[in-house]
Amino acid sequence: MSHKIVVTGIGATTPLGGDVQSTWRALLAGESGISTLEQPWVEQYQIPVTFAGQAKVKAKDVLSVPETKRLDPSSQFALIAGREAWADAGSPEVQPERLAVEFATGIGGVWTLLDAYDTLKEHGPRRVLPMTVPMLMPNGPAAAIGMDIAARGGVRTAVSACASSTEAIANAIIRLQSGEIDVVVAGGAEAAIHPMPIAAFASMHALSRKNENPTAASRPYDVARDGFVMGEGAGALVLETEAHAKARGAKIYAELVGGAVTSDAHHITAPDPEGAGAARAVIAALKQANAKPEDVVHVNAHATSTPVGDIAEYVALKRVFGDHLNNIVFSATKSSTGHLLGGAGAIEAIFTVLALHERVAPPTINLDNQDPEIPLDVATSPRKLPDGPLLAISNSFGFGGHNAVIAFRSYN
């Protein structure tokens, strides 16, 4: 890559905490952000899955009343994460035309959409709010951040299910490499803990049914895993050319050295059992980084805790890394956060960046009996990473056969 790209700001709101530091501390402490849903609709509709990873801090406790009225919950989370990342980067002075946003969501404004339809059915069209369309559109979260920081270099939204926000970060590389953009706020958000998406994911048997033990339900790589756990929240990263960051004396967390997107064209929901598309994404990201597979020391895996998905990712990685897989420290952080769908890649990118910056791989919880078919070295407590330059990747895969992989290098 011609321009070096660095991470200068991070922000998040997750089931573990309302910001990056509280989230990261809870993650390192091995906490679970998953809990039983107390909402009346669980009982009312007899929802078969009664738990999820709800945002630890409610958006309405952070934002102004007009912001909560005019933004879908997904955009509210995006704005919170975006503002934290921007402030963390030192609110850089950048020409608005050279500032862009690449911010994803998997599902979009599902609360707004379904609330509006309920209103239409119950009270007629005169009660459907005028802000309904801008609130439900999937580019709403990106637009909310773009308006907030006055980004005029293009505000775009990747939508590729659970690969969305990793794809958004990969897209940011292209913008920064173009020479037209100095700074990008990239990431993703999701707010889909609503009875309809839960019912729909449950209907396809994608969700864990461990209703009696929510904190143990998300258990990637464990033999007793039975599906993913829905989470909500957002993650945002300020990405910047190294030249721009250095010129303004910014602190630098890590270098973003590669990002690649491929597609399986195999099945709308099932992963390719050979893992060819996922493997190509890893190889392409490493090629951009001018790195060899043997350089990778840490992987933040997609690892959603589904029986099939965790194995498919392992098969793909085995294709790329071969025996070097034994030397890589794996973290499956969805065990603590649940699966934030279109926000997952963004918070996992932040975890990967912090793992390099603090030289510690975060733990994977609930791994009591590791699946013998997935013989990876998984950190179950915070694991110190070696001295010297570090290369790590974060993987995300989504319904539709989307594969997205990003690579970060430690920065000195």
Partner: protein, 81 residues
Amino acid sequence: MALSQAEVLAGLAEIVNEETGIDTSSVQLEKSFVDDLDIDSISMLTIVMNAEGKFGVTIPEDEVANLKTVGDAVSFITNAQ
């Protein structure tokens, strides 16, 4: 029982505050929604809709354009009750 003009003004000020963040004390009878309070058209439509719900009145779409000031809206709602 119908609300007084002062009660309608107070209720409308709350609706404006929730939608726009404008302080309720700034929502005064002589203020123009567009020129003084800087309320955009979508917010105005939302305020009208919420006022219909709160005060149990119907504000026809043709009428919205005539509600230039807070006082216009308060008078319309007070008379329509």
